[in-house]
Symmetry: D2
Subunit: 342 residues, 4 copies
């Protein structure tokens, strides 16, 4: 089968022909219908410091996909051949304190598809059956392959109450854009979208943002405060990982507000914790992954009912053979979400 692989330590990826994986106990073999490129894949493509320390080539990368089950191991009952599925990308231990107390998304022993083990940028993917999620047939393969990153957005946006609240999304990459749609579906009364990229802002508007803020042209903190009775907004979602945006999101929040943070900054950063967090009495939620599987139920419900439509976020589609164009579209900031098709 064809597979997009990191074949050696260093920048770039290659399309190779490799053997179809052989079934293993507890696993299912899935024929991939669609896959999508995550920021993590771009880090691996570029071979940044994090990738160099984590990835052991050769490995098939990719962890967002949809497809149909073609074979299951004898001990698997959760899915069967023919099922239309997508997948949680975190393979968890099921034994640590977190796994045993309803916090599987922060498992102490997690491995990740396409990062620690072979992933899904291939015609077939071998996946632990416990990770598979049955997809509502009303969803297209393109939407279905996005459930994992949409799940990040749902986990972040719905980590607290947003109905009738004023909200701000810092960073309109794909997950930020999905979040705008989730906030709209959940009835936020105001959704401020903040990003320096005008293309992304225009997609944010299509996803339901009520106000667009380009930090190159105006100070988000001042605008958010002046449009929120001088107090600041009730809820911020930090989706950029940009140090300045992180500091702004705390300052833009009202006393007693809530910040849900998914963006990963490039390293340690300076924060005025005393004035911006302690004295304001705010709550910060660090968010990673997706709750297994309550986030998945919620995500499926929003998509299946039509309350959330993510098609405006899919800006580019490429064949596996054209994968490099997909990565370039992201690197050039032309693209929001890029889908790869076998």
């Amino acid at each position: 089968m064809r597979a997009v692989m990191k074949t050696h330590a260093g920048p770039g990826l290659e399309l190779k022909v490799v053997d179809i994986p052989r079934i293993q106990p507890g696993h299912a073999l899935v024929k991939v219908d669609a896959a999508s490129i995550c920021g993590t894949d771009v880090h691996i493509f570029k071979w940044d410091q994090w990738s160099a320390g984590r990835i052991t080539p050769p490995i098939i990368i990719g962890h967002e996909f949809s497809g149909h089950v073609v074979e299951v191991a004898g001990d698997v009952t959760r899915v069967k051949a023919g099922d239309y599925v997508t997948s949680e990308s975190h393979v968890i231990c099921n034994e640590c304190l977190m796994c045993r107390t309803d916090q599987k998304h922060v498992c102490a022993q997690v491995t990740i598809l396409g990062v620690d083990i072979n992933g899904c940028f291939a015609e077939y993917a071998l996946v632990p059956a416990d990770n598979l999620w049955l997809v509502d047939p009303v969803l297209s393969p393109e939407t279905a392959c996005l459930l994992e990153p949409i799940g990040n957005a749902v986990h972040t946006a719905l980590s607290g109450d947003v109905t009738g609240e004023s909200t701000a999304v810092f960073g309109c990459g794909p997950i930020g854009l999905f979040s705008v749609g989730v906030l709209k579906a959940a009835g936020a009364r105001a959704i401020f979208a903040i990003d320096p990229n005008e293309k992304r802002l225009s997609i944010a508007a299509r996803m339901g943002a009520t106000h667009l803020i380009n930090p190159r042209h105006e100070d988000p903190v001042e605008t958010l405060r002046s449009l929120s009775g001088g107090y600041g907004v009730d809820v911020v979602l930090e989706m950029s990982g940009h140090p300045e945006a992180i500091r702004q999101c705390f300052r833009a929040l009202r006393n007693g507000g809530r910040a849900a943070m998914l963006g990963i900054p490039p390293g340690p950063l300076e924060i005025d914790l005393g004035n911006d967090v302690v004295m304001k009495g705010i709550r910060i939620e660090g968010i990673t992954g997706r709750r297994m599987f309550s986030t998945w139920y919620k995500t499926s419900a929003l998509l299946g009912s039509g309350l959330l439509d993510v098609t405006p976020v899919i800006t580019h589609r490429f064949k596996f053979e054209e994968f490099e164009q997909g990565f370039q579209a992201i690197l050039s900031q032309e693209a929001a979400k890029v889908v790869l098709l076998p």
Copy 2:
């Protein structure tokens, strides 16, 4: 009456004789039985940058006290002459978004007794009747004057579930020490107390700490992790405001844990937000003041039932005339809590 005052912009305080305040609408006049020195008072004594920017002399300082009502304005029904009372120190607006939505402790317009208006280091204090809290007669004046800072500890320690949890208190100043007692009353299964001052650690032990950690002799993060199954503790209370302690408290927390932060660092500080907060999926609660008045009910219940005994924390008692010795006992790190008696 005698009053401890900041008479002019600059270091130091003076004991002066001034007029007894005249009653005002909505207020009560309270004869002070006992008062106690807060870290804020020490800042004002030293006339640090914060004080110089906030305090307008002449002003009677002090905001922790107990006493008996001697007179109330005609429109006051909440208290009457003879009542045994203590006081919330935050005078709130009752009109802002936060005041109207059960978050009075982060009122946008708060003024503070002994900081923005005359306080309680005097024979009599004039206080808005809405701020007064009836004290259980079983409590001594010395304990009763401490309800405000004990309330900080209750607000912080009980901002989430601690029963049966492993907990760590970073910083064993008076509020940290009270917190240890609250955690013990609430049934934490382990209470790690961390402070470089051995005297404070020994008081922490008397308050119920199960483990004492002096960061001069061992690395708190390593110790906490190794004594918590390698995962880290469930809950940390940050009571020190020390930048290194703040970084340690995040690292000592297990994935999915909770940090309640009351200590105010001296300025912005560097935090590894990506690795220590976002990727770990932890919750941070910024804590200031006391919930009005649910924290006060809780605090009174713990003290009145005998579940919490704070007498080990009171290390020094002085007369108003000796106030300077009280401040010196704190500055020399000899004292935990210092009580002043008229």
Copy 3:
């Protein structure tokens, strides 16, 4: 001024001309723009057992209204002449345990406008200033007079998470119908509306119900279960007070689900608490009134942003002189919500 009054113990009401109320400390005088009839008013009109035990004539009834402030007492700062307002109907003590711990909606000493003291079915109403709520000028007087009962719906529907959940509303009187709209605004994935009255069901459809169930034609429990994967729905709102509906709402709930109950049954009723509540591990929230004032902020946000439009629920409008027709429209089950105009 003209006022709709209960003038003596017994059925019926009378339109009388009485003096305009004189201002009192802490109060505001409001010129009424619109008022609406609540089920409570109908009980008083009919003079049922509850009314006979509670009401002391003569009294001006009515507690839902909007209007403009014409005069305020000297000690009032919250509102001023000219303000566009509506009102919380519960006059609370501000002193009991519940009032002091953020549960004012269950004050132990509540009195109610138009029930215990003169109300608003008159040209002018005298109201404690603390009860008044500034109305967003984009709202019509007809909508503004409904904030109190819409607040009941918001309090009930948003007493827990509903975004992406399957929900059912038992009873489509006005508050049930408002609830359907709130659930829609908050992104419930399914909203089952249950009522034996086809007119009400058709309004429920306009408010956003995704399924209509007439219990005369089908068994709600069976339908709800079969359309919820056999498990039952995630959330029920009990708005009918009908004993059979109450029993059905528990049976229609999935294990671990949540029931928010606002409807008042006519008396004690038989419930299978063991099988339908304990063994299923469900949560029941008894709901009364509105949280002061977080529910009001939420309600205003939903209406002001256009996320909630309640106009389909207003089926009849009458002049004060025609008040009797308004009550008859409700008694005959022709009407949903009836608005009275001075």
Copy 4:
């Protein structure tokens, strides 16, 4: 091996000699050190209507036990031979909505040890490895066999905040008595124990109850209200299943209070839902089983740290051969908890 069995449909049990169970995939074989009799076992012993409809003889009954693993199937990694264990009694499907969304305790497909499949009143028990829980070696086999019912108490008592709260436990059977101990460990300021049996009340006192109420001699509702400022208590735990106690527990609760209900009434019962639940704005939590496995961590933490000591509740110990005396001690209301030893 010897085993206490229901050999045929009808009252009574028999001690039989049967084969030691053979290991199965996913299972572990445990040599039983201690077991204890639950109310459910008594129902089966008496062969009441519920038992007759549910139990299919022949079956080894019993579901509370501790022991040491002697053998595990080849696919089991969670436990190994020699491990000191106890067991969750609910065998869950891991596939239903509830299992997949952190509500395993209300699994739609649960089977129960000693009820639906062979249990533990035997020298050896065959148990799914996922159900086993490693016991802290500081706990005696007698305490360790009680983790399952203590878990019921922990689940009920800690389903909300109790630290500093006034609490009441209706029904002082074994789980009620455990609950008293949990409330004490968690720092409830008042713990009212209500039971008509004076022996049980005296054990409640030893477990930490601050007030004992015998409903034969005084009205619990009146006493609880008069000792709670006239408002009623903050939290009630319903552990009796007695219809009159259930009604009393709602009436004894203050407005805005919380009822956690574990006791199973014998059938439907009449409740004044309007006055006692809706109008008071109370929350009811139906409680069954134990959260898997957060309740188990909490329970182990409380026992292992010495915060909870349940030995006063163990009133009788019998050998397997004497099992009938154990059942009689419960039926005669002489016993609280009865432990059986192989």
